[in-house]
């Protein structure tokens, strides 16, 4: 599966959906001028907040058949689907979110199937497809089925999106289909439910559970998507930073105290917090906050040679440092306290 070498004149036309969101916009900018790429077209329902740096923006809704016209008119050969979203509030509610995710994907894939110019499809998916349950293996590989299907929200959407993508791959065997299942993104600029969760003054957790979590740095995520777009790597790949952080550990690294609540209370708290628009947090996250999830990324390393530059811990620490999260309990102060106590005790006890 060698990378398709860039021919003499750049000829490829790439369409990126969800380009007005942080990752989509970033990927579009990075693809401009990449070897072999002639045009980059970004699609979204709202205009991008910043410059797309040479990429063209087309205001179109992927839920609308008009997307087929965009694809044929521009002779798009590669579609990067980044428009599966996890945050109901930003989408305008859960119903609208489901429509964007599922109906949007269906329309987009229908358009792709009709377009003869399509050679490659890259889909940004999520490790949420594995669900979260006490019966989970410690690490999910790409071939494993979820032990408990995600029943609602983003996880369920992702499962359905992947289902449609597999269907598309069957019907168009000539198209290279790559799917990347990302763990939770963190980074200096990206906004996800978890970035706002860790910025709460007190981090609510599920009483009696301390889940393992993985994070992936936005730079590493963009790197993988860029390579899937430029090179040929058919298949599904897990993507996450190396190593695990426990939820309590992560909260403490951010200098945040945790507030363990019994799980029914966490749901209620989650509802309230979502309604008050502090954190875009959906109820299905409760299972994740109870049982956690880890994925094995060795396939991406073996087949693509992709190794994340940031481990889970480094990703988190950088997020904390760059976001300037106001630590309630800075590590330095705790250390100073330790020395103080140790000093006092040794003077008292050693005498």
């Amino acid at each position: 599966m060698a990378a398709k070498s860039a021919g003499s004149p750049p000829s490829r036309v790439v369409l990126v959906t969800g380009v007005s969101r942080h990752l989509g916009g970033r990927l579009a900018r990075e693809l401009v001028g990449a070897p072999g790429i002639k045009r980059v077209i970004g699609v979204d329902v709202i205009p991008p907040p910043g410059e797309l740096g040479g990429a063209e923006f087309v205001r179109a809704d992927i839920r609308n058949p008009i997307i087929a016209k965009v694809i044929t008119a521009a002779g798009v050969d590669t579609v990067v689907h980044m428009s599966v979203i996890a945050t109901p509030v930003s989408a305008g509610g859960r119903t609208s979110m489901k429509e964007i995710n599922v109906i949007g994907t269906m329309q987009l894939l229908a358009a792709c199937q009709k377009a003869d110019s399509i050679r490659k499809l890259v889909v940004k998916s999520s490790t949420a497809v594995y669900g979260a349950s006490p019966k989970d293996p410690a690490m999910f590989t790409e071939d494993m089925e979820p032990k408990a299907m995600p029943r609602s929200g983003f996880g369920k959407d992702s499962v359905e999106v992947e289902g449609y993508v597999r269907g598309f791959a069957r019907r168009r065997p000539d198209v290279t289909v790559s799917m990347a299942r990302f763990a939770n993104f963190l980074g200096p600029r990206i906004d996800t439910p978890f970035t706002s969760y860790f910025q709460l003054p007190v981090v609510p957790t599920v009483l009696g559970f301390d889940p393992r979590m993985q994070f992936v740095h936005e730079d590493d995520g963009i790197d993988l998507l860029r390579r899937l777009t430029l090179e040929d790597h058919p298949g599904t790949f897990n993507a996450a930073g190396e190593g695990a952080l426990l939820l309590s550990q992560a909260a403490h690294r951010a200098g945040r105290p945790t507030l363990p609540l019994p799980s029914p209370l966490v749901s209620a708290f989650g509802d309230w917090i979502r309604r008050s628009r502090i954190v875009d947090f959906s109820p299905e996250q409760i299972r994740f906050l109870s049982y956690g999830r880890m994925v094995d990324t060795s396939r991406a390393e073996r087949r693509i040679g992709w190794t994340p530059k940031y481990s889970t811990r480094e990703t988190f620490d950088e997020f904390v440092a760059v976001r300037g999260i106001n630590r309630h309990l800075p590590a330095e102060r705790v250390e100073a306290l330790e020395h103080l106590v140790a000093g006092a005790l040794s003077r008292g006890g050693g005498a």
Binding site: P134, G208, D210, R212, G243, L246, A251, H252, G349
Partner: protein, 381 residues
């Protein structure tokens, strides 16, 4: 409690190890203040003052306070040095677990504070399975050390059958209503095996469903009993412990004690074959008697969704007091490893071989149990 009376073959045996386990700690507590380094130093010079600052590291600050105790250990010196050192080491280890007396107070305080600081700031490592080695050693195992040495007076045999580094699968009998036997086995290997290995246990999914229990299990190195996890652990050279009887083993009535139940479906053998690691049979005697099950409230168990609700002679009769386990005397014997790398590649897919190996492991453990029961003089000594 009846088969214990069968034949008191070697009546002499059981008492000694009890003393060995308890006596040195009591008398070694003062000696522990003077670690091996100091014993050498005080043999030459009188321990008054501070002879050489190089030797005077943190662990001693008390020689002045205990001038009587220190020379005493120095006098016992050259001949007994090795035995003494070993005992001091053992005592030290014991002391680290929980005794406020013994090791230098400053060091203990410093270590504890350092530990607490890193907990508060999240500055520690867990592996992919959620195992937290430091928490396990300093808190979780420390909490059960007294139970191990004082209450059950666990005696271990055949620790040399556990490899020092490579992967191995330890298979043991399960008993005792509450799965304390797995904790004791983990502690036995962690504290007394020369390589101080961490036993990575495989647990039922009910364990990980329960709040607190699941969290503690993961942090102490356990993971779900499934082939994926077993092979991942064995493949990375870990020592994995499995109790294939599961709830059938710990929840069986007292009248069935020491009768091995069905050994699952032999999944553990397949995992060992695929990872090509030896199987170490492990027999635990004593755990059966800690909470003798004389009844099982099946209807309540169904209602609660748990495998059994035990009635023991003391529970629920005595309320919370019934939760105190009976102080039976334990023996954990690790048997000779059964190699799996002598079988060809793909042997794990041969059900006949898997069944045969499962039976072989089961029989080995059952016979060792009978042997140990014959040697045991009584349930409590």
């Amino acid at each position: 409690m009846t088969e214990a009376r069968i034949i008191p073959i070697d009546g002499e045996r059981p008492r000694r190890p009890v003393k060995k386990a308890v006596a040195p700690q009591a008398s070694a507590a003062p000696a522990a203040a003077a670690p091996p380094v100091q014993a050498a130093a005080s043999a030459a010079a009188e321990p008054a003052g501070k002879p050489s600052p190089a030797l005077d590291i943190k662990p001693r600050k008390r020689p002045v306070k205990r001038p009587v105790a220190a020379p005493a250990s120095a006098e016992a010196a050259p001949a007994d040095r090795n035995a003494d050192d070993a005992r001091v080491d053992e005592a030290l280890h014991e002391v680290l677990g929980g005794h406020p007396d013994g090791m230098d107070w400053d060091t203990r305080v410093a270590r504890t504070l350092d530990f607490l600081r890193r907990r508060v700031t999240g500055d520690f490592e867990v592996d992919d399975f959620g195992f937290d080695p430091e928490l396990t050693d300093r808190v979780l195992l420390a909490a059960v050390r007294p139970l191990y040495s004082k209450w059950f007076r666990v005696e271990t045999r055949g620790l040399e059958n556990i490899p020092d580094s490579a992967g191995a699968l330890l298979v043991a009998n399960h008993s005792g209503t509450v799965a304390i036997d797995s904790v004791m086995t983990q502690l036995a290997i962690h504290d007394h095996h020369p390589a101080h290995r961490n036993l990575r246990m495989l647990g039922a999914n009910l364990v990980f469903q329960l709040p607190v229990v699941g969290e503690v299990a993961r942090k102490s190195g356990a993971t779900l009993a499934c082939n994926a996890d077993a092979e991942r652990l064995l493949g990375s050279g870990e020592l994995v412990g499995v109790w294939p009887e599961g709830f059938k083993g710990i929840g069986k009535p007292f009248s069935d004690r020491y009768k091995l139940q069905r050994f699952g479906r032999g999944g553990f053998v397949a995992a060992a074959l695929r990872a090509r690691v030896p199987i170490v049979p492990c027999s635990i005697v004593g755990a059966e008697e800690i909470y003798p099950i004389i009844g099982n409230v099946k209807s309540l168990a169904r209602l609660l969704g748990v495998p059994y609700v035990p009635i023991t002679p003391t529970f629920p009769l005595l309320g919370p007091l019934g939760l105190v386990p009976l102080p039976s005397k334990w023996i954990i014997e690790f048997g000779e490893p059964i190699p799996t790398d002598i079988y060809p590649e793909g042997a794990a897919d041969d059900p006949m071989l898997v069944f045969n190996l499962t039976d072989q492991v089961r029989e080995t453990i059952q016979h060792t149990l009978y042997k140990l029961l014959m040697q045991r003089r009584s349930v409590f000594f």
